[in-house]
Symmetry: none
Amino acid sequence: MRAEIISVGTELLLGEITDTNARFLASQLPGLGIDLYWISQVGDNQARLVEVLRRAWQRSDLILITGGLGPTEDDLTREAIAEMLGEKLKLVPALERELQEFFARLGIDMPLTNLKQATLIPSADAIRNVSGTAPGWWVEKDKHILIAMPGPPREMQPMWHHQILPRLRQSTTGEIIVSKTLKTFGLTEAKVGEMVSPLLAASNPTLGIYAKVDGIYLRLTAKARGQKQAEEMIAPGEARLRSILGEYIWGTDSDTLEAVVGHMLAEKGLSLAVMEGYTGGLLAATITGAPGAVAYFKGGLVAGSEEAQIACGVDAGVISDCGASSREAAQAMAGAARLHLGADIGVGIAGVDEPGGGEGRPVSTIYIGIDDGKNKRAITARYPGDRAWAKRRAVATALFKLREILATAG
Amino acid sequence: MRAEIISVGTELLLGEITDTNARFLASQLPGLGIDLYWISQVGDNQARLVEVLRRAWQRSDLILITGGLGPTEDDLTREAIAEMLGEKLKLVPALERELQEFFARLGIDMPLTNLKQATLIPSADAIRNVSGTAPGWWVEKDKHILIAMPGPPREMQPMWHHQILPRLRQSTTGEIIVSKTLKTFGLTEAKVGEMVSPLLAASNPTLGIYAKVDGIYLRLTAKARGQKQAEEMIAPGEARLRSILGEYIWGTDSDTLEAVVGHMLAEKGLSLAVMEGYTGGLLAATITGAPGAVAYFKGGLVAGSEEAQIACGVDAGVISDCGASSREAAQAMAGAARLHLGADIGVGIAGVDEPGGGEGRPVSTIYIGIDDGKNKRAITARYPGDRAWAKRRAVATALFKLREILATAG
């Protein structure tokens, strides 16, 4: 089954809102074995909307539309579907009653403009909306299914989960699509591409490569009659990727570096504390973003200035000898965090976050220290590009290094 | 000039990432007086990409493409443009040299696959990429402009601002669209809508209302022959909104709460320190994200546990009497941060971040304390909804409260 998503709304074309509906719906289709080939956004303009619908009707079996079901004059999805199919809109008394009841519950008189939300064409069934006034439309005609949903995600998503998904599942009996993502750190995208190039030619499962702030992801996607069969098709590819990429792989699918590291700490009964200069709190915020961090994270110290570092227990001599941006300072910060907060392992991130920034700014050099009471390690890393990204990259580097140390500690 | 945006990448069709590039580019066009009629997303498939490009070439004057310029085999934007225009890709020695230099700066050998990023067709000029390896393409042919940019926003956006926007501005004349956004905090979207309802009917400038994590935004948008004329059309509406919303307005346009607060601190010569439980470092990370924060931010302490709070100077008696989640604890954290790090003002955020969470979890109650050495204040706030959002909301609440105190301190 070939699917297409159409998001309706001039606010999308003005860049006022991001189209999160298309992403949500796209993420729902692989599990149904539905192939999605097209997504498009179109404004509140009937002629252009009809044009997009006509093309979708020609090339796709399933058309998912969000937006344009509101009560105002620029909500034109109903009208456009009717025009595309050559059918007429009619007021449906039962829908009108439901709308009246919805407003009665809010203690408001129903504005007349809402009446258009109680209209249907002969090929359409109404889909109940428990969170708003716009019912959805389910149209089945000439072996096509067209589903129109309201634009606000808090109305669309419950409608999808409770009314549309169960019904759609019945209409699709074919293959499903299953993906498995391996997440690596420490290699460039091109290098990963080179290493796994023999697998890139395969068609089922296919292999995709994506660069993210926390490393390079590799995604295997298989199409099969069922979950188990798809998993069996993915397994050999995964084994091969694991043998090629080995220690660079830190997780799979929805894993995050902070959760992976957190899990290792919890398992080994070790606790963690951090002191950050360059990243200004982002390392602590990332670590505490993982569920259950309270069990192993003793705390963090954000010290951008030398005096703050000294107030938090860093030896003033190290800073005066080596500078606040140095391997030695990073190690001293790691040690001070560990001692000050009574943790087994301390991590320090040193480096100057120059104000200003922008294009042409020098590549930032930062230093990451890790102290587990037995060994003091330090690594140097350099990040080109923007400030916010460089900080996220520094956090990922620190977590990946920490994972490596925890893994080899046995 | 009719524009069209095409975002390339199978990950968009699998719902793995949201297409923020399309929104970014869409938001840039009104200021150029360019009308955007179409946005679409297409996977890493050359045939479908060529089909989308052919249609765009027929109906649009300006085509903006992001994605598919990477070094791997599934990066097909260059190939698809060449096929659509019937031109051949050629390796360009100057581009190859630049790539070699890019890798040399990082101290890495250039993988051979990156060579495809040094290719061009005769109609295309390369657009320099300061943040990555993929140059953009600027194609002008038969009165069409086609611009291809890399997909990662941190590469695409600087390229847009520094290389593409200035050149595009020369190609366009006519009306421009100018917007002014007022940012408020402390009111619900519906309440703001009620208060400003007389202005919502106007057509030039129009008024839009948007709910964000740092409050409700109001955007006035005017269409005019020039910047000055548009600004004169916006001014009366802005004055009216300011008289209605008064102290709820904390900034405009690209202002952030952290930059607004930072500016006030710098102006008054005051310094700041924080201690966070609930937000786990996000307050410090947000504050240090503002340019120049090193001048006024003394540091932060992330202390999720009682022992960490006590290690950082919180009076153990306060915690045993009132609990770690209390107004008193928040005030004590604010005071301890201030003293421990030698700052003029201390902010404390107390509250338990329950692990797990998800739908149906109870509303989180958090406590924000602010201590400027003269007064100790505390406010209580409750956030329904997901954990990450609630933390961001807590940070915004703390910063807005701090702004209020700094404003009334004269």
